[in-house]
């Protein structure tokens, strides 16, 4: 039985792919899992994997052609098999066009396909007030009840998002462990000051004032009402600390090819620690609620040929500088070769963009939605600074934070930036 090789959706946003190169030739034996071809997606060059074993009977699409997702690319089967049923309908593109008058979508498209998991607005609003004094009856769909029973979930702690607050499948499926509270237990209405462990994030319903702020500001400035905060950071001590670290590496004869720790690595670390202390900035705007992340994943903007991409240092707050350095080095290198996997550049909770190496003093960066903030890092330059009664030459760095005002208010952003500044001015604090 012949198996079709289809253009697969290799990234969450991929609608079509360009077949860069066949790695197997017609007549060549293939095993399931073998790399058949290289495909260029909207973001990277990725491998198209064989889903069946046999012989590559036909390369339907030629190298260099661009095909929509789900188009026929080739056929795997047994030698001598009749392929006319599979490839008889003409080129894949034409076949796809030939069915659009029928009653259903020819292929999933961004309108009908469920959004990628990372951005699916999950509606479990754990910090929501419990659904009133539940007098015996909780409105929940039969399917939701079964799933809850199976998982030992108490429906009293789940916020319903169905009609009239009815609890539906998506509510129980995304309900975190904290939903296992007994009905009536008061839950905090604001994000906790300290991030609890266990669940990756907490969804918080929008208060009326938040809704109004969001609506009014978005009307005024565009879909993401952004405001900017700028601070100048004294980098003397970080400068010294970095020199020491890289110097120590040389003296203790660390691996010779180990990359030096960059300022950017230290900035990512400082960002991550500051986010841990200011969870209100570590959040996603989700249109009808805000997702406060309990995990810190820092996106770092990397310039690539004709564009940029934001690979992610996951759990950056829990990683050592050395780990961040190794990871950022690897991610940036692969980003430039366009060989990042989708999961390596989606799902960040906050971004850092650094143009210091281009001698930019100060700039503003565009927020990467649904994230709510981004830091724009300028160059470190020697400046005359008044300290006490004396004028001294100090190395200074200007940082501008872009904030989504629907999530972050002025004082919230300023608090974060203050911590960030303090950490870089006292780098030892990052060690604790």
């Amino acid at each position: 039985m012949a198996t079709k090789v289809l253009m697969e959706a290799l990234s969450p946003t991929m609608e079509e792919g360009r077949l860069v190169e066949w790695k197997k030739q017609e007549g060549e034996k293939v095993a399931a899992g073998d790399v058949l071809a290289e495909v260029e997606t909207d973001k990277a060059i990725m491998d198209l994997i064989a889903r069946a074993s046999g012989t590559l009977l036909k390369q339907v699409a030629a190298a260099g052609t661009t095909l929509p997702v789900s188009s026929l690319v080739g056929v795997i089967g047994e030698v001598g098999e009749d392929l006319s049923v599979i490839v008889g309908g003409g080129p894949a593109g034409r076949r796809a066009g030939g069915q659009t008058a029928t009653n259903q979508p020819p292929a999933p498209n961004p309108h009908s396909a469920p959004p990628p998991a990372a951005t699916t607005p999950s509606r479990a609003l754990t910090a929501a007030p419990p659904p009133g004094p539940v007098a015996g009856r909780i409105k929940a769909s039969p399917l939701a009840k079964r799933i809850a029973a199976d998982r030992g979930l108490d429906l009293g702690g789940v916020h319903g998002t169905g009609p009239d607050g009815r609890i539906v499948q998506r509510d129980v499926e995304s309900a975190p462990v904290s939903a296992r509270v007994t009905p009536g237990t008061p839950l905090p209405a604001r994000p906790p000051a300290r991030l609890p462990g266990g669940t990756p994030f907490t969804d918080t319903p929008l208060t009326q004032i938040r809704k109004t702020i969001a609506k009014r500001l978005a009307q005024s400035i565009g879909p993401v009402p952004t405001f900017y905060l700028t601070a100048e950071v004294d980098m003397e001590r970080t400068w010294e600390a970095r020199e020491d670290l890289n110097g120590a590496d040389r003296r203790t004869a660390g691996p010779p090819d180990r990359p030096k720790i960059s300022f950017n690595d230290i900035i990512i670390k400082a960002t991550a620690i500051a986010l841990r202390q200011h969870p209100a900035c570590n959040a996603w705007w989700q249109d009808d609620f805000i997702r406060y992340w309990n995990e810190v994943h820092v996106s770092m903007a990397v310039a690539v040929e004709d564009g940029l991409i934001t690979p992610i240092i996951r759990h950056a707050d829990q990683k050592s500088l050395r780990e961040i350095s190794a990871e950022s080095h690897d991610l940036a290198a692969r980003a430039r070769e366009r060989r990042l996997k989708p999961e390596e550049y989606t799902g960040g909770t906050f971004s850092v963009s650094n143009l210091g190496m281009f001698d930019i003093d100060q700039f503003t960066a565009v927020i990467n939605p649904p994230e709510a903030g981004i830091l724009a890092i300028g160059a470190i330059t020697a400046k005359a600074v008044v300290t006490g009664q004396a004028v001294m030459v100090r190395r200074r760095m200007r940082v501008t934070m872009s904030c989504d005002h629907r999530v972050i208010d002025g004082t919230t952003g300023a608090g974060f930036l203050k911590t960030f500044k303090t950490l870089l001015e006292n780098p030892l604090a990052m060690v604790w």
Binding site: E15, E16, P68, D82, S84, V85, I86, G88, G89, G90, R94, R95, G97, G98, Q99, T100, A101, T102, N103, Q104, P105, P106, N109, P110, H111, S112, P114, P115, P121, S141, P142, L143, A144, R146, I147, D150, P163, V168, Q169, G222, P223, D287
Partner: protein, 464 residues
């Protein structure tokens, strides 16, 4: 120049429903329509085809079953022209019905070509109208055909549904390219009116997007009525003459020649996005040519401009557009709205027997590696179906083994289009197969087959 809260471009099933809902929510509303209200659906789509299909149904009933029912009718004579004029009358009545609804809800109808302008403005003729809250694009789609295989629609020998709906008589022979819903419905109609019908489909099955069992059942029913089905066929050559078309198709590597008086192109639709100022107003399109929208808010890339219906993306179905119309109006009015479940849009083909489905096909469940159990019940074991002599077809439900979720349902049979909604309601409200069975089904009804199929999926089928 007039000012409205909402201006809707297009008075089809998406646009006019959006207008009614907008008016209900207290917004002053205008609909721009260049042709007749009701759009493709009412005028040259859903409604007139269903009128013709009813003629076809009765013709088949008289030709094949009358004697058995104790009715002597003599030899059956058909006249497509009469059936066509009846379908036109119904379409016109429906369009007037939409006009009445616009009046009733105090919706202003602006006749003419609407052009979107930046800043939520719409130009109709020489007048520019302004929308205070939103402009909603609902400009729909049109037949396109597949010119790249040499079959350009010439409206005489190579026609689309637009022409087929206005023919004075049924052609002696017709080749239909595309065996989706449109192709299968016209195959049914022309077959009943005496045409020799050849149905050509590039994909390996007719009704390729339905469950394979549904496709097989229709292929069998069509074969019995001598409709020649050629799935997996590629049209390699077309010679278009003044009175006939010769097609060369390749099926399984073997070339075949088909001669027909007319070719009906039942594949390919294009969305209406040109010459309406979309680009200038900041409304971007997707790579596939649809208007780019945020699926959660139906808003386009231009603030305050929304998009619904065919032009907003597949499935290109009237009822999907209407639902988007309601939701768009509620979003614009600032109301909380029920999110659209695009995986719960019923799909119906009105040939005989009818085909209706919702949710996943069995092949899709396999691809997704879901742990499922199929339940089936044939109409040959259903009392009501037997009394009507309509025992073709079945109900098939696909149950998730762990939670009993209705992953998908497929019905082939008489009135499949009507009884599918029990399962649509069930899925929308997350009832499982058990709740469907627990609801008492009247006896004898076709719907009992649904309850039985649900029982079968749990291994408890009763009447088979």
């Amino acid at each position: 120049m007039a000012t409205f809260d909402v201006i809707i471009l297009g008075g089809g099933p998406a646009g006019y429903v959006c207008a009614i809902r907008s008016a209900q929510l207290g917004m002053s509303t205008a609909v721009v329509e260049r042709d007749k209200l009701g759009g493709v659906c009412v005028n040259i789509g859903c409604i007139p085809t269903k009128a013709l299909l009813h003629s076809a149904y009765v013709a088949n009933l008289i030709a094949h079953d009358a004697k058995d029912l104790g009715l002597e009718t003599g030899a059956l004579k058909t006249d497509y022209g009469v059936a066509m004029r009846r379908s036109r009358k119904i379409a016109e009545q429906n369009s007037r019905g939409v006009e009445f609804l616009m009046k009733k809800h105090k919706v202003t109808v602006l006749k003419g070509d609407g052009v979107l302008q930046p800043g939520r403005k719409v130009k109709v003729g020489v007048e520019v109208h302004e929308a205070k809250k939103a402009v909603v694009i609902a400009t729909g789609s049109r037949v396109k055909g597949i010119p790249q295989i040499g079959l350009e629609i010439n409206k005489t020998t190579v026609i689309s549904s637009d022409e087929a709906l206005f023919l004075e008589k049924a052609p002696a022979s017709i080749a239909i390219v595309g065996a989706g819903a449109v192709g299968c419905e016209f195959a049914d109609v022309f077959n009943a009116f005496g045409s020799k019908v050849t149905l050509i489909e590039a994909l390996p099955r007719i009704l390729p997007l339905e469950d394979a069992e549904s496709s097989d059942a229709i292929a069998k029913a069509f074969k019995k009525r001598q409709i020649d089905c050629c799935p997996g066929a590629k049209v390699t050559k077309a010679t278009v003459g003044p009175a006939k078309v010769t097609l060369t198709i390749e099926v399984g590597g073997k070339p075949e020649t088909i001669e027909a008086e007319k070719v009906l192109m039942a594949a390919g639709r294009a969305v209406n996005t040109e010459d309406m100022g979309f680009k200038e107003a900041g409304v971007q399109l997707t790579e596939r040519g649809f208007v780019k929208i945020n699926p959660a808010t139906l808003e386009t890339t231009a603030p305050g401009v929304y998009c619904i219906g065919d032009v907003a993306g597949p499935p290109m179905l009237a009822h999907k557009g209407s639902r988007e119309g309601v939701v768009a109006a509620e979003i614009v009015a600032g109301h909380k709205t029920h999110p659209i479940r695009y995986d719960n849009v019923p799909s119906v083909t009105y040939c005989h027997p009818e085909v209706a489905s919702i949710g996943l096909t069995e092949d899709q469940c396999k691809e997704k590696k879901l742990d499922y159990q199929v339940g089936r019940f044939p109409f040959s074991a259903n009392g009501r179906a037997r009394t009507a002599g309509e025992t073709d077809g079945f109900v098939k439900v696909i149950r998730d083994k762990k939670y009993g979720e209705l992953l998908g349902a497929h019905i082939v049979g008489a009135h499949a289009s009507e009884i599918i909604h029990e399962l649509a309601v069930a899925r929308e409200n997350e009832y499982t197969v058990e709740e469907v069975d627990l609801a008492i089904h009247a006896h004898p009804t076709l719907s009992e087959a649904i309850a039985e199929a649900c029982l079968d999926s749990m291994g408890r089928v009763m009447h088979i």
